[in-house]
Structure formats: structure tokens, C-alpha cells
Subunit: 173 residues, 2 copies
Amino acid sequence: MYDSTSTTALNPLDLESRVGPNDHQNLRLWLRLLSCSNFIENEIRSRLRTEFQTTPPRFDLMAQLHSSRGGLSMSELSKRMMVTNGNITGITDQLEKDGIVERIQLASDRRSSLIRLTTKGRRYYKRIANAHDVWINTLFTSLPEATHRSLLKHLNELKQVTRVFSSNSTEAH
Amino acid sequence: MYDSTSTTALNPLDLESRVGPNDHQNLRLWLRLLSCSNFIENEIRSRLRTEFQTTPPRFDLMAQLHSSRGGLSMSELSKRMMVTNGNITGITDQLEKDGIVERIQLASDRRSSLIRLTTKGRRYYKRIANAHDVWINTLFTSLPEATHRSLLKHLNELKQVTRVFSSNSTEAH
DNA sequence: TATTGTTATACTCTATAACTATA
DNA sequence: TATAGTTATAGAGTATAACAATA
């Protein structure tokens, strides 16, 4: 049974251990989601650090820039990464200092600038992204195809549902 | 419209936007999982802060203690929360200073101590946990029952799969 | 020798707000 | 007036390692 509250070798004590038999199914689902996500994120954080001396936020910023060849504004990065402008400035400063990204002044709006990967940055990003792909593929390798498809579909539903919720309560932070 | 570049209201640009058409399905699944989890976690972090002046790690520590009435050792907390002993010491210090937890010296092993919620701590925890339940229930409320069940089941599979992976490569950190 | 927990340190991320310069 | 981005600051989490006390 996938949902036993007792602990076996396959159900180690972790974040989810805090749910009791009377807890809501919603809480149970949330903790399970969180513990999956935290676990994988910790693995990745650790490898990014030891193998590439970088961090998830920096890697995410590079990935966002890589996926939009023309570059992105600070505000756009801020929205996508769901952190404040000030924090984007900080991460961008570090990456710029290392020659990985550059700020391009815009003639059209002189308040704004476009952030882009440099050539060096693009090479650096690709090396990390390749390793990252291997990590993820290894992690997910023995997940059955049907489970994979189901998760992809249903997590998308969850995403829609939570977005709607939040746009009602915490509009545009 | 919260977004410009070719995105519908139901698919806003976010972490997941960085996947391109050629990216692996595994990467796609991971980013979807991460963006669900981050989004909910951000909501909760924000509410814990503004409504209860606390943080997810502190709340998690309290929850772990609450679920095991007798209390837990620092090492046990460290394992469950997947952070180092030193960090558990820090969080415990803060909670102890606020009178929420207490350290109980053990006669059986004088190196170790048992961390327990105080009476005040238990009351405080219950207030937060109740609010937390409401938040989670609200977030998940319009998720169809079948989707819920499917996610619960398949996330458990994912959990097993990733655990196995990690115990091969990073035994007992 | 190994384990429990503490201390110290350096770094990063986060949140908030005041500020500038443009629009 | 509103927006883009910067600066400043305080606080928290994280990783690492050295350490003391005990097993």
C-alpha cells in the first residue's frame, strides 16, 4: 500500500512523517509533493555547488536567458523567477562580475535594460545544463512511462488550480 | 494579461518557461513539479511570516515534534528535515528562546537531549497548523478527486524512485 | 574510534523599503 | 503618477569544519 503511515525501508521518516492518520488528504498530498521536490532540489543544489560552484537561482536565471535568445528585462526575470526586482539585481550583479551575463542599454526605454548571456556565459550554461540533464534523467529513469505521463498531466491541473487561487488573493506582488 | 510574449492566461511564464521543444520529458516533468511546489511554498512562507512571524523550517520542526509526543533528538530532527545538525541547533535555539520548545537531558545518553514542544509551544503550533490547513484546503479545493488520488499515488512512486537513486550515490550525508 | 550536539564562519537568498531616473 | 531598476539593510537558511563531551 502506497499510503501506509507506518515506516518501512521504503517509507523513511522525513517531512511527510508529520502527517497523522486524521490529517486531511490535502495536507498529505501537499507534504508528499513538497518532500519529492525538496529531495530532488537538495540533490541538485549540492551538485551545482560541488561540480560548478553555482546555485539554483543563478542556474535558473541563466536558463531563462538561454531560452529567450534576445534577452530579458529585469522585471521579466523577476516575474518568472517569482522573486523581487532587488534580488534579481543581486544575482545579475554576481553573474555579470563573472562575465556570464551582460546588461544591454535600451534606446527605447532608458530606465530598462536587457540582460543577455555572453558567449562565455552560453558555453558555461550549456556545460551545466548537460550535467543537469543527466542528473534528472538518472533520477527519473526508473519511473514508469505511464506514471510519468500521469504526473505531467495532473501536476498541470494542480498548477492551474493554485494559480487561480493566488490571483484572487495576492494579486501582483 | 499578466504576460506579453505569446502566453495565455492559463499558462503564465514562470520557472517552467525555460523548457524548449527539444528538452527531455524528464526535465519538463521536474520543472513542472518544482514550479508547483515553489509556488505553494512561497504562498505559505509569506502567510507564515505575516500572520505568525515564523518560517517554514520552524513550523516544520514544530510539526515533527507535535507528531511524536515524546519528543525527538536533534539527530532525528536533522534526518527528517534533511539539514545538518548545526542548522537544527540554530532553529532549536530560536524556538527555545521563545519558549516554544525545550531541551530535556537524557540520563541514558548524556551527549543527547530530547527536544519537546512546551505547553505554550503546543498551543502556538496548533493555532498555526489550523490556519495552515485552511490555506492548503483552499489551494487544493478545486482539484478534482480523481486527480488528487492520482497525484498522491504517483508522487509516492516518484518518491521511492528518487530515494533509491540517492541511497546509491550519496549514502548518509 | 564513532557519535551527539555545539560553535564559528562565510555565503546566499529573501523581504522590505527608500531611492533615482525615466516614462 | 507609475514604472524599471538600484541600493541598503536585516534576517534567515545552508554548508563546512573544528570542537567538546560522551559512548
